[in-house]
Assembly symmetry: C2
Homo-oligomer: 117 residues x 2
DNA sequence: CATAAATATTCCTTGACAGGAATATTCATT
DNA sequence: AATGAATATTCCTGTCAAGGAATATTTATG
């Protein structure tokens, strides 16, 4: 998998920008206003998102309108698909599992997250 | 959304570690071997993944066995769900759309990605 | 043509992070 | 107790990314 899109999304303000653009295209100024960013930072973040292919841009007179592109997000989604089995494990045989657990015949009784240091 | 897991995954070696662990738990040494990393770097990356909640750890005598945790990945997956409409747009009304486009009544005939500088 | 609005870019500083090398820690084995 | 194996931690260094401030660029408008 490509880590370019992930790096771009790992910055909190950029993640918020992406969530904003989910509801439709916005100009730089609108993004800056709604997130309380200074204009140059909004421009810079949008530039990073653009270079990562996460947004489109189209000039409209004075302004620049940025719009979300689906492809990189879909790519991450596709990657996650190969992990979906992890949390979609079925509970059809939960009773059986617990029985085995009690007999102490199972290999991996991991501690819960909370038990760890 | 939380960016902790995203930051952890944005590092190429860590992303590879996660892909390795998809097929089952591994020790530090096994991770290092399979990715051609030095042991300390493997330990450090696993530490970051652990702090991000992406992996479990359980000591086994001399070794430490790391295992993937579903929760953070599922969290990202859930977040992406709100964007899925972007690439699952239906084409039922494509003909209508093209007709409107020809009449020049539509607001957003964006340039293609390739047209951009 | 001068000015203002919207946006991009540059420069600077600071903090985080990754890898390398060395060392510390923990546990099993003899 | 001494040694070795597996792992963690520390220290160092270089790189990179983010925000602030200032400035450049582009376009509309009077």
């Amino acid at each position: 998998m490509n880590t370019v899109a992930l790096s771009a999304l790992a910055e909190p303000n950029r993640l918020l920008i992406v969530e904003l653009l989910r509801d439709g295209p916005l100009t730089v100024g609108e993004v800056a206003d709604r997130l309380g960013l200074r204009q140059p930072q909004a421009s810079k973040h949008l530039k990073v998102l653009h270079e990562a292919g996460i947004v489109d841009m189209r000039p409209e007179a004075n302004r620049r309108i940025y719009r979300l592109r689906p492809e990189p997000l879909k790519e991450i989604d596709d990657w996650l698909e190969s992990f979906r089995g992890l949390w979609e494990a079925r509970f059809d045989h939960l009773a059986d599992y617990l029985r085995e657990l009690q007999k102490g015949t199972l290999p991996f009784p991991f501690p819960s997250k909370e038990d760890e240091s």
